[in-house]
Assembly symmetry: C2
Homo-oligomer: 233 residues x 2
Amino acid sequence: MKPSDELVAALEEAGSAQERFEIMYDTLRDRISVSDYPPGTRLSEEALAAEFGVSRSPLRKALKILEADGLLQSVQGVGTIVTDVDLDELTQVYQLRMELNELVGRLSPKHPDETTLALFEDIRKRAEALRSAPDMKIFARLNIDFFHVFVRLTDNQPLVEVSERLFYQTCRIWLKMIPMMDLAEEVAIFAGEIAAITDAVRLGDTEAAGHIRRAHLSMGFARLKGHARRHTL
Amino acid sequence: MKPSDELVAALEEAGSAQERFEIMYDTLRDRISVSDYPPGTRLSEEALAAEFGVSRSPLRKALKILEADGLLQSVQGVGTIVTDVDLDELTQVYQLRMELNELVGRLSPKHPDETTLALFEDIRKRAEALRSAPDMKIFARLNIDFFHVFVRLTDNQPLVEVSERLFYQTCRIWLKMIPMMDLAEEVAIFAGEIAAITDAVRLGDTEAAGHIRRAHLSMGFARLKGHARRHTL
DNA sequence: GTCTTTCTTGTTGTGTACAACATCGCATAA
DNA sequence: TTATGCGATGTTGTACACAACAAGAAAGAC
């Protein structure tokens, strides 16, 4: 895909096999999540291996894990295809994500340190900037980054891992649906959510942050469904 | 490990690569979960591949996924080691599992059909039989089978998958701790839990079943912690 | 005797060649 | 024209050879 000299440099510097794996895994997951690889894209193991400067063997490990995550699907004789996201199939995932986000505020809530607080403020600023110049890809990136900051509110590591898994299964739906919706409006709503949660975090009320997040997740999904229904009619 | 002709037969019959993968994955996960491979066991890729009648390549996929599940750890030059389970590290997992089990009764509860009911009754019978002749390995197997029956109470597939993941991360702790505890007593308690949940299910009160399960998970973990503390003193 | 060094052995990680398979284009026959 | 076969091409799946590495044994120096 890209020339991306930094990437191959990082891969060469990496000492252990696990480091190399994580670089490839994170890179591929990110590309899928921001629609550099839209649903249906056919990836070639050989091409990817060449780009990363490795053989197919280590690359395949990353692809297999992403397949287990539900982001890819390998079919012999055809290729490795980026899975599609279907709103109906995602209903259950969203229901579960709602509950888990509430748990983030309730299970082992962590009093936010200075670093975390600074990260929230940074996200808030980026959201405000995005309001002035809405852009789909930047919106997607912000959504991902905000998720990672948000889960810092809990000390429960398994909860973080499970939430991350489900997040990456669903986050692409926005990139698919946004064209049918009002991007500026969604950005404004998202900025509002971030502001509200950041305020709650600054007050040290982690549980409130969880409830706000849950509420916005619920409303966001309702809007998605509404627009989908309106569009198919 | 075993000769196990049925296994290699099933692997040869399997048409697709995914079928072969699932057979190997399930087999290995089961062996780890019932302590055929106790924590610390060093598995050899070559030996396993030979036993399964395949090459290292397809076997490695199963091992890599199990590593991502947290059940194995591969170290170059050393081997593939079955991970240990530590009670303290599992505290967070248990907290999350408690909440998730409650969700099973609350999120998309499914009115149990005849098949499910029969499965519950079967488990209850096996539990009663186990009370007459307590056995650690049968106890472990029953625990696993009961889990799979219990998650039939929800229609939320992502919840089932996440619960399964966490279950297999924790279930081995019983095999590690039981020697320090009273097996007969634990079996009796487990049989009581199963009877109570089966009754709730027969009444169609799925939410109650979830709460009972949550309560027993909590008490079970408390007993584990208590015995661990008593043992280290 | 004890410590150090080197070698042997066994393991996972990686590269590569080939098998199995699906898909598309194209020629050919009806 | 249309249907059919078939072959060329590109893909993932599998097998195998070797590299990289860790650990223990054995031999040698002191």
